[in-house]
């Protein structure tokens, strides 16, 4: 079982699995030396990282604001302490006082034990940036986790889950390994389901040249989230869009953001833009995926290796704008159940989707109850950054990491009669919350937001 000297760890990718994503594992005896070499390279490039290394005064403000710490009470899960796992090494090798006084100033020699510590703790952080949001110095500890995971990846240490996602992306262009015939079959099934349930004819065009919109769904929608996929099809049909889904990039997620911001993230960006180019699309509209929308909205321009000539928007932005203009006829009575909204962290703290999600929610439901806190102050679902590990130890940890969210949902009272809806418009959140609402017995069903919008549409 994945544990190292009392620390929980995700199952790691095998050397063969690492090679499939073009990473060559470093032999153990060389890892410490290479770690310092890579850390040196990265610190010279990223000022955000140096700020985090140099400025923290250990005020402790981040501690009670981190759901990982609240759920585990492990001191190394306090964001400032988690960053310290790299900071002690940074101090030892890259500061004068650390080189001279070593342990006296909290510096530590690099070792395999330290690297294993990184692997345990940087994969318990969900990169939700709530600590960054409250830090009086503006330190974004998420940037430290990014870099911790990057160093680990270059050393050849990446969770099996993340590496498998990278491998599937290389192979077919989505995380769940859907080849085109599987995509088409599922979409035809969705058309039948929409006809059965809503009596509306909806087609899901695939790879249609000269589409005004290419829609990038999360591939998890094809396995687990039928109403999100149906919802997108119904929305685009309702507004009369000339749209399609590209079979070459049927994936809103970009796990490169989460474990390898160099080759993997950049490769995925270029795969997307190549698809937009080949289909001669005019606009790219994103589906429900939190980290993926951050990776798209905030990173595409700098990783594109070309001028980006396609406007990039989120399907929530599109829907909210049409609601504000009064162009969607909606009946909120179609969603009579009590609903609460789990804000995907990347939507609210990285992409400004806060208001638009609420514009939709208020227009399509009758009993919407906010969690406390919510919006930019939300707490993560506990699965953020793809830490959806399912071996018994890590699964138990996921239950702990979702404790804060469970308390919040329960406090809204939406699940009191067992018919509540927990709207969580992101595939990682959904995958985390489907089992967690059962573990915590919350009395709610998990749905996306576009799911609720589609149910409220009034067809002519």
């Amino acid at each position: 079982m994945p544990e190292y000297k009392g620390m929980v760890q995700p199952v790691r990718a095998t050397p063969d699995e690492m090679r499939k994503i073009f990473a060559e594992p470093v032999p153990d005896e060389q890892k410490p030396e290479k770690a310092i070499e890579y850390l040196d390279e990265i610190r010279k490039k990223f000022r955000s990282f140096v700020v985090a290394m140099e400025s923290c005064v250990k005020c402790g403000q981040c501690a009670e604001n981190c759901h990982t710490y609240l759920g585990t009470r492990d001191p190394n899960n306090i964001p400032a302490n988690r960053a310290e796992l790299i900071r002690k090494i940074y101090r030892r090798y890259f500061t004068l006082e650390g080189r001279w006084f070593g342990k006296l100033v909290g510096a530590e020699d690099i070792s395999l034990d330290v690297i294993e510590q990184w692997y345990s703790y940087f994969y318990q952080c969900s990169q939700c940036r709530r600590c960054a949001h409250v830090c009086p110095f503006g330190i974004d500890t998420c940037e430290v986790t990014f870099i911790g995971r990057q160093l680990l990846h270059w050393l050849g240490i990446t969770p099996k889950l993340h590496a498998a996602v990278g491998g599937a992306m290389e192979k077919v262009g989505n995380h769940t390994g859907l080849p085109k015939p599987g995509i088409v079959d599922t979409l035809e099934f969705m058309s039948e389901e929409i006809m059965d349930e809503f009596g509306v004819e909806v087609e899901f065009p695939v790879d249609k040249p000269d589409s005004d919109i290419i829609y990038i769904p999360s591939s998890a929608d094809f396995l687990l989230n039928p109403y999100t996929l149906m919802g997108a099809g119904m929305f685009f049909t309702y507004i009369g869009a000339n749209w399609c889904i590209p079979s070459n990039v049927t994936e809103a997620g970009n796990f490169g953001l989460l474990f390898d911001q160099y080759y993997t993230q950049r490769g995925n960006v270029n795969r997307l833009l190549n698809a937009a180019h080949e289909l001669n699309a005019k606009k790219i509209v994103w589906g429900e995926c939190g980290h993926g929308w951050r990776a798209a909205k905030m990173y595409v321009p700098s990783l594109a290796d070309r001028p980006v000539r396609w406007p990039l928007t989120h399907v929530h932005d599109e829907a909210a704008e049409l609601i504000r203009r009064g162009e969607l006829k909606l009946n909120p009575e179609n969603n009579p159940e009590p609903v609460t909204l789990h804000d995907p962290c990347n939507y609210v703290r990285a992409c400004g989707l806060n208001d638009n999600m609420r514009t939709i929610m208020n227009a399509v439901t009758v009993d919407f109850r906010e969690m406390n806190p919510h919006g930019v102050d939300n707490f993560c679902c506990g699965g953020g950054s793809g830490i959806l590990f399912d071996d018994p130890e890590m699964y138990q940890r996921r239950i702990q990491l979702s404790q804060k969210k469970a308390d919040q949902v329960r406090a809204t009272g939406v699940g009191k009669d067992g018919n509540g809806i927990l709207c969580a418009p992101c595939s990682i959140c959904k995958a985390q919350l489907y089992p967690m609402v059962e573990e915590h017995e919350l009395g709610v069903h998990v749905h996306g937001l576009i799911d609720l919008l589609a149910k409220a549409l009034v067809w002519k």
Partner: protein, 105 residues
């Protein structure tokens, strides 16, 4: 990685106990996995789901949408969980010899 012998043939399993090459699957594999999943006996209901998943995978190289599996086999999700306590992906797909699902699932 581990190898198990089924009917005189070596079958490779990954760390999670999923089959590595779905082509190597045979009925004995399902029976072996059933034991490790705490399923006492594979009934006709189990085999119906397993055969459906095998056929779908053979045609599309991927597991079907859970909703489609329920609709086409006639079992509700609740019944699927009763048949396969680890659920559709980690229980039913595993017994049917499909590779472990990846991504946000």
């Amino acid at each position: 990685m581990a190898f198990m012998e089924f009917g005189g043939k070596q079958v490779e399993l990954d760390e999670d106990g999923f089959i590595v090459n779905p082509e190597e699957w045979n009925d004995d594999v399902a029976i072996y996995f059933a034991e490790s999943e705490g399923i006492k006996e594979l009934t006709d209901d189990h085999w119906k789901v397993i055969r459906y998943l095998r056929d779908y995978y053979k045609q599309f190289q991927v597991a079907p949408m859970v909703r489609k599996m329920c609709k086409q086999t006639g079992y509700s999700l609740k019944q699927i969980y009763e048949l396969f306590p680890s659920g559709p992906a980690k229980g039913a797909c595993k017994l049917a010899g499909l590779p472990k699902p990846t991504g946000c699932v």
